[in-house]
């Protein structure tokens, strides 16, 4: 047990070094891409093509297979960023800072997908593009938080400094996001009765639920692939003056 733990620790420490991570990413990227494509497509095809039609909403409910996984990812990417922000603040691990920087655009993208598909779904079922529902509002705020993080990082010339600045924001965000969610819930109940909720009927049958699960899994796989893909570019652009990059990448 002890030896397993120490091996995991050594592996993690090795992954913290950019050259090692770059080599690992380059060799495993095709595998990650393959896995992501298989699970992602399987989930979407199953959900969009073969799951039964909802008796109340008809076929429009199939947007759930795009909307819900994106919304789940939007939140988990933020938590992921906060964890790596904490790591970068406490241990000053270089790779953790780069992780935030390459995860932020992905999180913003998934949040945007969740917002856009949600409003398309709302147009068909509620008749309006936007409702000031608690969940919609907190997702919109989430998007602003991502935008703040991206904006702050791009405004700071020195990238390591930018990493630390952004990790402060990410850590603050993870404290404040639950507060935002809670307060938006209260705000919503105070200002208007909740006529619309996105919560689907609790009696969701397994042949609707299982494809959704596969979709969520597929989105996670896709995120891991995209993150690795982005991190490679990030590493190279940060370390382009280091000798290992010159040796490996530019073949001097």
């Amino acid at each position: 047990m002890n030896r397993v733990w120490s091996r995991i620790k050594n592996w993690l420490i090795a992954m913290g070094s950019p050259p090692h991570f770059y080599r690992w990413a380059t060799s495993s990227l095709p595998w990650l891409a393959g896995l992501a494509v298989i699970v992602f497509c399987a989930g979407l095809i199953w959900g969009l093509g073969f799951s039964p039609t909802d008796y109340k909403q008809g076929d429009v409910y199939r947007i759930i297979y795009i909307h819900v996984p994106s919304a789940i990812l939007a939140e988990s990417i933020y938590i992921f960023m906060a964890i790596s922000g904490f790591i970068s603040m406490v241990w000053r691990a270089k790779i953790a800072g780069m992780l935030i920087n390459s995860a932020a655009p992905l999180g913003a993208g998934f949040t945007l997908i969740a917002l856009l598909t949600g409003s398309i779904w709302g147009k068909t079922t509620w008749g309006t593009w936007w409702v000031w529902d608690a969940r919609l509002t907190s997702t919109l705020i989430m998007f602003f938080l991502y935008a703040a993080i991206i904006g702050l990082h791009s405004s700071i010339e020195n990238k390591t400094k930018g990493d630390r600045a952004v990790s402060i924001l990410a850590v603050l965000g993870v404290v404040i996001v639950p507060i935002i969610k809670k307060s938006v819930d209260w705000w919503q109940t105070l200002h208007q009765p909740s006529t619309f909720t996105l919560t689907s009927s609790p009696s969701m049958s397994p042949d609707m639920y299982l494809p959704l699960l596969v979709c969520v899994l597929g989105f996670y796989c896709l995120f891991i692939f995209m993150l690795t893909n982005g991190l490679r570019a990030e590493i190279i652009s940060r370390e382009r003056d280091k000798s290992w990059v010159k040796k490996q990448f530019f073949k001097y």
């Binding site: 969009l48 429009v60 947007i63 993208g109 998934f110 856009l116 598909t117 398309i120 068909t124 893909n229």
Partner: protein
């Protein structure tokens, strides 16, 4: 076969909504995948031009 595809695409007239959602998903994901690839390519080009 063609009939069932037709049904899948139209989805009782709600097809455009569902497929536009899929389109949005694919566009945003593709953008997020392509940006790092382009960035890497550019660095590679600049790096080889320098010396």
């Amino acid at each position: 076969m063609l009939d069932s595809l037709q049904i899948l695409f139209i989805m009782d007239g709600k097809g455009p909504y569902v497929w536009s959602c899929l389109l949005i998903l694919i566009i945003i994901i593709t953008i997020n995948i392509i940006i790092p690839v382009v960035r890497l390519k550019r660095i590679y080009r600049e790096g080889t031009l320098e010396e």
